[in-house]
Amino acid sequence: MTTVDERARELTPPSTPALRLRGISKRYGPVVAADNVDLDVNRGEIHGLLGENGAGKSTLMKILLGLVQRDSGTIMRGDTPVDVHDPQDAVALGIGMVHQHFSLIDALTVWENVILGDTGRIDRAAACRQVEEVSRRYGLPIDPTARVERLSAGERQRVELIKCLRRDPSVLILDEPTSVLTQAESAELFTVLRHVVRAENRAVILISHKLAEITAATDQVTVLRKGKVVFHSATSETTPPELARQMVGRDVSLRAEGAALGMLPVDGPVPSGEPPAEPPPETPAESAAASSDAAPATTGTAPALRLRDLTVVIDGVTVLSDLSLDVAPGEIVGLYGVEGNGQSTLGDLLSGLILPSSGAVELAGRPVELERPGALHRAGLGIIPEDRHSSGVVLDMSVAENLVMKSIGDVSGRGFVSRRKMHAVARRLAAEFNIVAPSLDAPVRSLSGGNQQRVVLARELSAGPGVLVAAQPTHGLDVGAIEDMYRRLRDAASGGVAVLLISTELEEVMALASRIAVICSGRITGVLPAAEATAERLGMLVGGVAA
């Protein structure tokens, strides 16, 4: 630890990059996660890495840490090309990462966590002393003997930082470090990072999708999109709207594309026979954020689905906070945001897998007793879960069995399932939803992803739900299956079903939804009519800045 200051002095001028990536590429099958990426990270600078999901940020960092091996390209420390085969190599090269998840052991104390991964005899006193020393130097107050499970998210973050800084890294990587922090804790973190960079001439890579954070804390910013570097600038020479545009990209072409494919949302009143429960998209919303509450309440009819002040706290982390959203019958509302901002928690909640700490789910004006298993289903909510393999279908049961799974009572008599009735129902649904299967008795596992998803959709819609929640409904599907899914969701909506589409794909949301609600850090940052959703406004909302 004492070598830090000496090292800082003998360092080359800050202009020499601490870390250089040249032409890094990584493919996962047909998916290109990193495409010929060049990146220079300088000493004495915080380098922001901005991008949506799947933009390749995490892949790039995993390559740097030796968790994933690159297909091609060069990593250079200074002027020397290096290889990173495993996390130990990364440590030896002075690359340290502050992990957001899975890096602290709750049951151990702070000092035990900090020395975990070292070798040699344990010296408790020395370890505590070191923790205190690092903690003092960087202004990260922590009790070394406290058990981690008793610490707040902010304190855990401090422990992560101490653990990392104690190993004296010259390049420090932080992955979405503020996602679980309060505002004050975030500010504190950035003060520490400033110190680390300025006074000790280290390099910091800050991965984030929050624009405010990037503009406030970084010196350089690089925007990744679909595995490629699309934009690079000194942070002082760019603006949040510019960054938002670069991050989301695809600008105006999107709606034109959608129109060409015949995938444009139905504008104006929905053909459900009922009065639209919200102002048509042409009506300019005064404020994006305000329209969320105002819109559906204006008409007398209750929305088909109302999420009211939903708050979910998991392990002391607020995953959803006061989330409110209405979906009217016949309407498709897209819930859009970068992955990990509470969408999957909302999906779990609407599947009945977890209970909110506070707040309510109302279906057709009536609150649902979420404690009772199956209550959401009985109240008329169908769901296409995000992870269809674990909660959508039972892979090793037959197509027919999967199709009747939520209505076994309808196909059985006197306590026995009637195979005849079950097959009749399954045949009808399979025909209606174009499910292509070797036979109705074939296990769902043998079906393609698109057909598996059709099984889920058919089952959920066959119950005649008033509300359909579709969480990432086209993940992993091919183009044909995606279009089919879009058509069916649109049909469901025009049949009067209220559809909540939870998606991280902007194209999808733009193609389907008439209103787009943006989620960031478990809160709705704004609701826009699709017609007003420009890349810039969405980008700002996704980045947590109210547009």
Partner: protein, 304 residues
């Protein structure tokens, strides 16, 4: 016989019945802290009991029998560890299979072989053995009993104070986090199973060449499961686990002593007692559960 004599007899039989449990418990405790629910403990003890008697008979040395027991425990630990923590076979299935295998194998082998009886020698501590009531039970014992004085503190020190133990605990709690930190999760778990095997082997061997001097079919009679119950009863604390072993040992001694004392009580009830105690303990401890978070869950890199 006087009441004091009765108490002294029950105590002494209780302690002798506790010792094999205590050895195995030290092993199981450590394995469970590292995240393995080691069901094959029964196989380790039973296999070691057989092996120790066979070896003692062949070599004429009961001590050699003890060593053989330890080796057989290690072997079973090695098999379990490689199946569960290298090939990722479900640890419970591995354990049950090993238990059935060893039970069947030893039952068969004992029918086709005959062994001489050998027993390790007794140590009688001067002066202390004369303490009334507890003197004889505590200080006149077969010598391996006194190994416990070494094994118990060593186990505690390993888990709570050594770096190896720190890593074991990390691995038993959050293997993903341990992996990211650079700890070889499945290697640590295999090592913990070896420690468990050695001690369970010692316990099983003590039962055979220490107490009885011979092997009979299924001679452990579920003691492995009793030890697992003791670890649960002890809520994954070594001291309380050993207390559990003592309770179970005494209950067993009571069961054996009842007829001699002229009491008519259904001894089956006392057979059930340890399991009832463990069940009650589980009920009580569910509220403040200190169970290692990843107990019984295999670790595969990349999965969460």
């Amino acid at each position: 016989m006087s009441a004091a004599d009765n108490i002294s007899t029950i105590l002494s039989s209780g302690i002798r019945l506790t010792v094999p449990l205590a050895f195995a418990a030290c092993g199981e405790y450590l394995a469970e802290r590292a995240g393995t629910m080691n069901i094959s403990l029964e196989a380790m003890m039973l296999g070691a009991a057989f092996g120790s008697v066979a070896t003692a008979s062949a070599t004429g040395s009961a001590t050699a029998g003890l060593v053989a027991g330890v080796l057989i425990g290690l072997l079973i630990g090695l098999v379990h560890g490689n199946l569960a923590h290298r090939l990722e076979v479900n640890t419970f299935v591995v354990g049950l299979v090993l238990n059935a295998l060893v039970l069947g194998l030893t039952s068969y082998l004992i029918t086709i072989s005959s062994f001489d009886s050998h027993q390790v020698s007794q140590v009688s501590v001067p002066w202390l053995r004369d303490i009334p009531l507890i003197g004889h039970p505590l200080f006149v014992e077969r010598w391996p009993v006194y190994l416990l004085l070494l094994v118990v503190p060593l186990t505690w020190w390993l888990v709570e104070r050594s770096r190896w133990g720190l890593e074991l605990r990390a691995v038993g709690e959050q293997p993903q986090a341990a992996d990211v930190t650079g700890i070889r999760v499945n290697l640590r778990r295999r090592q913990a199973l070896l420690w468990c095997g050695a001690l369970a082997g010692l316990g099983g061997a003590y039962l055979a060449v220490g107490e009885v001097g011979s092997f009979n079919q299924n001679m452990t009679a579920g003691r492995g499961y009793i030890v697992i119950a003791a670890v649960i009863f002890g809520a994954w604390r070594l001291g309380r686990t050993l207390l559990g072993c003592v309770l179970f040992g005494l209950a067993d001694a009571m069961r054996l002593a009842l007829p001699a004392l002229g009491l008519t009580m259904n001894s089956q009830l006392l057979v059930v007692a340890p399991y009832l105690l463990a069940l009650v303990a589980m009920l009580v401890f569910t509220t403040r559960n200190r169970e290692p978070k990843s107990l019984g869950q295999p670790f595969v890199r990349g999965s969460t």
